[in-house]
Amino acid sequence: MNARLVRQLTRLYPPEWRARYGDEFQELLEIHSSARRAVLSVVGWAIYERALWLSGLSMDSRQKSLAFTLYASLAVLAAGMNFYWTVEDTPLAAAMRAHSTLSATWNLVRLGALLALIALTLVAVPLFLTIMRTAAARPKWNVILRLAVPPCAVLIVLIWLVGATKLSGAHWVPTPWDVAGDWTAPAAWPSLPTRVVLSCVTFLLLIIGLVVSAISVRQVIAQSDLSGIKGVWFVAPSLLFATSVVVMSIGVSAWGWFVQQYAAYDFHTRNGGLFTSTNFTSWAASCLVYLLATATAVQSARSALHGTGSSADD
């Protein structure tokens, strides 16, 4: 085949596939006759590899485990933020101080969050070192740029929050948990339409930041050769992480049950829920996301255990 056709055909494959097999595949194509059957074979398999790449099925067990941990941790972050802001600065916080059972379930969530942080640190340190070593050995600016996406997303949200707060008179932070409800907004706050628009922008920035961070870090994981890291660095943190998410889910569910017993009126009013919803609706949304995160974290642990079982070098 001529060099131009070879280059075009190779470009049909996903970037990770090209990085791994591109050179040797081009060598093979160059000595191959350009028969229509060979071209069709390349195009058909390129479509298949693209589909695998998009679905994440092209990752090995360790990469899958890390990707699931990433998705679950971002889901926990979103659910935890919503849960915290639903309760913070509302009568429900006062109810927690009055009832030790209620505050115990809140502390259970905090314990789970601490365990999750330990698990994520345990898995992140060897992973980060491996990724940076790979990037340093073969300069990979795309890896470094993709790793910079999550801190940039945080920075953009912070800049937006500070800027929008100052522009709206410095009396109100544009979070989606403080728009309107069964209370009267202070006179110094911006008008309701302004609050709705600004908090919608914050919400969109948060969602976009989470999704873009998930995609970019997932791509880095898919490009990383993790075979040099011992299996225990995947299995132990993923088991600990799955346990921590289960603990958080139990804590949030139990908190909802107890708050219904002790402070039902405040639970069903609109004084802290996401986008003027009731606290109950906002709590239920958090519960749902925590449950999804639990299923994903368990899947991560299963992939890590499978990776240790099938890996030739463990």
Partner: protein
């Protein structure tokens, strides 16, 4: 590799099919690459690959023997 496969099986694989198989086998850690030899890129079986291949060949062998016995009966 394409020539070797054609000689052994009587079927000539397309380049996309060959690298589809190589990528899948490497993903499942059944083969691993060796250092390149000029324009050739050799691969070898891993211990897991050897185990899987032995099991597959034993199944095929049993299947072929059962088929031949039926034919001869």
């Amino acid at each position: 590799m394409l020539e070797d496969i054609a000689r052994m099986s009587g079927t000539r694989l397309g380049p996309g099919t060959l690298y589809g198989a190589i990528a899948r086998l490497e993903r499942e850690k059944l083969i691993e690459p060796l250092p390149a030899e000029e324009r050739r890129q050799p691969y070898r079986l891993t211990s897991a690959g050897r185990r899987v291949l032995r099991a597959k060949l034993a199944t095929l062998y049993g299947f072929a023997r059962a088929g031949l016995r039926k034919l001869e009966a």
